[in-house]
Subunit: 373 residues, 2 copies
């Protein structure tokens, strides 16, 4: 099967697509659960599948350090390792080298850093990033990029963007094409429209199987993020998938879809689930709140996940108060199911030409819980 | 449905039985997974069912403190609360009052103690223990007993046994009979054969739906435990289920079955699973051990659980090294499945008249892993 993206319908800027790959088909818009260390936290692979997820993300930085890319390859690759035969997208490791590792030294060739686990010295170059992701057997490989902090000056952002563009070209050259596998470039340029445009154009000239928007959701706020998105997406080809990295809340996803984004990933639903926060059709609920101690109602009456169909809010509250692992397990499951159902509903709405109405009605529902979204 | 125990077959002292109850049928010998706080740790109710478990245990002491028996009752009882429509056995709270609570004062009427959670003062009497277990809607209620420490003198053990016997009578009087619900008495008497005999005879005279052997697996060692078992079981009626409380390792279970025990419970498989220890047909394996880092083989080739059929030992090793919750989740699942399959195999062996041979062959297998059993 070739790596192929087809658009089944559009509604305004929003697109309903279909991504075919060596490991299966992904309907878009899609949210990808994050399996940082080859495990979606608090979920078995079967329970991830039960949420309806069709593609997951894994982190190159974490996996190159532990258990190591060569070891994963020797064990048959990431799909077999984590029991996920479906598509897997791996990031390039660049973002986490910047945010997690110690004593990093950036040069034109790559980045040298110390592991946050044991202080051991490692080096990541565009070529090594391609090599690692090939060893992991990623369905979708991301170019190595450099992600500047929010608040960077335009001059520094330009230099950083230029470095990412140079690494995009080298990633492109080092990527080993295989049928059904894809390589994505990453648009950078911080919050500066001119830089975003240049970054997009450069990547499109190189030619990638898909395009990611990087460097957002790093503190700039939703309004700025949406405005930067507008300045990035318009320069990207219609016939390639677009992926907004590390985003976001359900509201961010609706805004991203409206602006032509097809793919999203974020730790938000899984991390929130571990800290008792549930995304629901009535907004965010914090299950540790004493108001739920005797609440016999389902968490979200519109949801079909085990947390909602089998238990009362009072039970979920009890699990978090008692420190039971099942609390994070059930709420992670629920949040991933909620994200999945939101994406499925938006896809249907796009195909039916009522995206704006449906997104509006979803947003209106979020106000009901009154715990804020 | 009446609370009814029938013996389908025996082999030496070992029995294959069938316990019918208001919440379903339990084939024996049976191991009951422990759901201390209305949750079998690291497992959903569905995954507990998937291991083949037919009955679970919950702890009165923990649940009376949090969320509270009245609250569980208001929410429809424990079965609905924890999504376990099947049989549930609750202990009486006595053991944990002794082991967990602060500043306890024992008198002839009951025990006053401070909660280990918030220091609040509580009182447990035989009558209140019956009341709490009725509010929880326990299928099998345990009498309130007093469990002396290992090493107690015979004089003190006798006094404690006499107190437990008096509480047995009061528990019997306070228990509200309902069709399909049962009340068990608890044999005490520490390691003293004469006391065990007197305790057993007293309980049998009172008449219970089943008989538990308490006060064992508290440090006396397996040989002493088996010897005490011999001195307790012989005085119990053939036609009632016998339950060895808080036991044990797979080896303890085989020894208990040989001595006529029908029911067991223990935190061992779940607690071990959370600390990377797996019970397998080849003995105990500690998955944190570096020897598993590149081991592509299944944890236990004879097991059909997700940990064994979907993953390599190297993946389980990785999960524990990386601190992923999925490690405890998968290993708990495996251990409960192992315990369940061991019980099912022994039941079959008893019915086929080859219990000793099959138990011997299981024991022989445990030597293979060479990490010790």
């Amino acid at each position: 099967m070739n790596f192929e993206f087809t658009i089944g319908g559009t509604d305004g800027g929003a697109r309903a697509g279909r991504l075919a790959s060596a490991h299966g088909v992904v309907e878009t818009p899609v949210f990808m659960p994050v399996g940082t260390q080859a495990s979606v936290k608090a979920m078995t692979a079967d329970s991830v599948r039960a949420t309806g997820a069709t593609i997951v993300l894994a982190n190159t930085y974490h996996l190159m350090l532990r258990p190591g890319a060569e070891r994963v390859a020797a064990l048959g690759g990431l799909h077999r390792f984590m029991d996920w035969p479906g598509p897997i997208l791996t990031d390039s490791g660049g973002f986490q080298v910047m945010s997690l590792s110690g004593l990093r030294t950036l040069d034109a060739e790559g980045v040298t850093f110390r592991s946050h686990l044991d202080g051991a010295r490692h080096r990541l170059t565009p070529e090594r990033a391609m090599d690692i992701q090939r060893l992991l057997d990623a369905t979708i490989t991301m170019q190595l990029d450099e992600c500047p902090r929010f608040g960077v000056s335009e001059t520094d952002a330009e230099a950083s963007m230029a470095l990412s563009a140079a690494w995009a070209a080298r990633s492109r050259g080092a990527f080993h094409p295989r049928p059904g596998y894809g390589l994505f470039g990453i648009v950078q340029g911080s919050v500066f429209p001119a830089l975003r445009e240049r970054s997009s154009r450069t990547l499109v000239d190189l030619g990638f199987d898909g395009y990611a928007i990087g460097g957002l959701a790093v503190g700039e706020g939703q309004e700025t993020m949406f405005s930067v998105l507008d300045h990035s997406v318009r320069f990207l080809p219609e016939d390639r998938p677009r992926y907004l990295m590390g985003v976001g809340t359900p509201g961010d996803l609706l805004g991203g879809i409206a602006r032509g984004i097809d793919m999203f990933d974020c730790v938000m639903p899984t991390r929130a689930g571990r800290t008792a926060r549930a995304f629901t059709s009535e907004g965010v609920r914090n299950l540790r709140n004493a108001r739920y101690a005797e609440d016999a109602r389902p968490l979200d009456p519109t949801c079909d996940c085990p947390a909602c169909t089998r238990h009362a809010r009072a039970y979920l509250h009890h699990l978090f108060r008692a420190g039971e692992m099942l609390g994070p397990m059930l709420l992670t499951w629920h949040n991933l199911r909620y994200y999945r159902q939101l994406m499925a509903r938006m896809r249907e709405a796009i195909l039916a030409g009522r995206f704006a109405e449906d997104a509006g009605s979803v947003r209106a529902g979020w106000l009901a819980a009154k715990e804020g979204q």
